[in-house]
């Protein structure tokens, strides 16, 4: 790379600005290009600094930043860091092909969003909820506080270090991480912990009170739940989970499933009230 005397370099200040601005990524979400406005907003300090003497390149960079974007917010700063490093090279190297920036952005956002959504929005959140909800359902304020801490401490650490990492190592790191299988290991570890927690939560928080139903007659009548518990405790919650899992596999929309459950439950309770 040729270093000109008037080379443009990003300072700590812009990186810090990108960090804070990345926190707003989802807040101007839209159906047309999703996070494009938020992403552009986050990249403004970088573009402003690097292309202050070259308005043609500045316009091109701004337009690029407004392209379609869909990524997990906590991992967005990693991509922004990579993007910033590439724009920096673009500013200093006249030979640089700026279509590479768009290519890297579009090729990385899919995998990053896939990993991020399942690891952070899915698994991390569910673990935070699982730990917190026990306190919260008793009205203990530790619950909500614990939830916020468990979710956000790792979230913001990822956001902070991701940005610096991305800026320092550029796109090379991600492709490398995919090759060495680090990503697979992280995903595997997170799914093991996540699934174990969900399994436990099914047993603790899915409930269907069948104690009203009795088997047998007269004084020999025993509640059905007693027999079910003898087979296996938590059999009913597991069955309910199994039914829901199967229904979701049938591509039934979640909102319909939710409303459907409410109506079925009200209907059953109506039938019960008749007797």
């Amino acid at each position: 790379m040729i270093m000109n005397s008037n080379s443009e370099k990003l300072t700590k200040k812009e990186i810090r600005q990108v960090f804070w601005r990345s926190c707003q990524l989802d807040s101007s979400w839209n159906f047309e290009r999703q996070q494009n406005l938020g992403y552009s907003y986050a990249m403004v300090p970088v573009i402003k600094r690097l292309f202050k003497n070259d308005s043609r390149k500045a316009k091109a960079a701004l337009k690029r930043s407004l392209d379609f974007m869909a990524i997990t917010p906590q991992l967005s700063s990693l991509l922004m860091g990579i993007n910033a490093a590439m724009e920096e090279e673009n500013a200093n190297n006249p030979e640089f092909d700026d279509s590479a920036i768009t290519a890297v952005k579009t090729s990385l956002m899919g995998p990053l969003a896939g990993i991020g959504d399942s690891l952070i929005v899915g698994t991390l959140r569910i673990i935070a909820t699982g730990v917190a909800i026990g306190f919260a359902s008793k009205g203990n304020i530790i619950g909500p506080i614990l939830f916020l801490l468990l979710y956000n401490v790792p979230g913001f650490l990822l956001r902070y270090y991701g940005l610096n990492f991305g800026y320092k190592y550029g796109a090379y790191f991600i492709t490398n991480a995919e090759k060495t299988g680090i990503m697979d290991k992280v995903t595997y570890a997170a799914s093991v912990v996540g699934l174990t927690a969900i399994g436990g939560m099914i047993a603790s928080y899915v409930q269907l009170d069948l104690s009203g139903i009795k088997i047998g007659s007269g004084k020999f009548a025993e509640p059905l739940t007693k027999y079910l518990d003898m087979i296996m405790p938590g059999l009913v919650p597991l069955a309910v989970f199994g039914i829901m899992y199967w229904l979701i596999g049938k591509k039934i929309k979640t909102s319909n499933l939710l409303l459907g459950s409410v109506f079925v439950c009200i209907f059953i309770s109506f039938l019960v009230s008749l007797f």
Binding site: C23, Q24, L25, D26, S27, S28, W29, N30, F31, L37, Y41, A58, K59, L62, K63, A70, D117, V121, G122, R125, I126, I127, V131, I133, G139, I141, G143, P144, L148, Y151, G155, F156, T180, S191, V192, V193, L195, T196, I198, G199, G200, M201, A203, S204, Y205, Q207, L208, D209, P233, G234, M244, T254, L257, L258, V262, I266, I268, F270, V272, S273
Partner: protein, 257 residues
Amino acid sequence: MLTQSLLIFLLAILGYLNSFFGSSMISRPIVMGMLVGLVLGDLTTGIKVGASLELVWLGAMAIGASNPPDMVSGSIIGTSYVIVTHSSIATAVALAVPISMLMQMLWNLLMIVWVPLLAAKADKYANEANYRGIDRMHYIAVFSQAILLAGLTSAGFFLGSKAIQSFVNIIPSFVNSGLNYAMGIIPAIGFALLVRMIVNKKTACFLFLGFLLVAYLKLSVLGITAFACVLTAILLFNTGHSSSNNQVQEVIDDNEF
């Protein structure tokens, strides 16, 4: 009532600005319920209602272009109603679910029509290298939506209590007990969605491990999470060096044993 409505408005703004503050999940019912409780002077009930609604909306999360129901308005109105009228938690669910769906429709409309308009204006500013213009479009998108949605939520709180009360009073008791059943099984939808997202043949057994640990040994979720972390460490570090990144290391290991 007016001061409370104002406080509820501020709270709703905070909730709708969740993705302005680092997508930190402050819009979740478990947090919103606590804050409503704080504002209306019954923290314990607020947290409890928040926890129940959290379980109902466990599977609700923004992924790609699918938006979950608007939990902010639903949590605030559901929780505040239970606190003000001392009704059952099932009433909160009965109110929160439809309200959140209605508000989401309105919000979707904003994100289909209003925000893309602003983004198109931002395209124009990009052509002029007008940095401030892009910043401004972003801020307008953020705050116009938050203020409108929070305004509607607090108006619902201010005007709604009486109207909601007369509506709730005509609900027959079997509906209420039906909702209680529903509250118990709805979390299963959330769990099923999450499991579908992360499970594969190699990891499915851990779902049952967690389930059995709680069902038979009555461990807490915190406890099984801790066990799961140790188990993961064992699996990753003590077995199967096949995917290890250091080939040389492996050869040495093989010689030792």
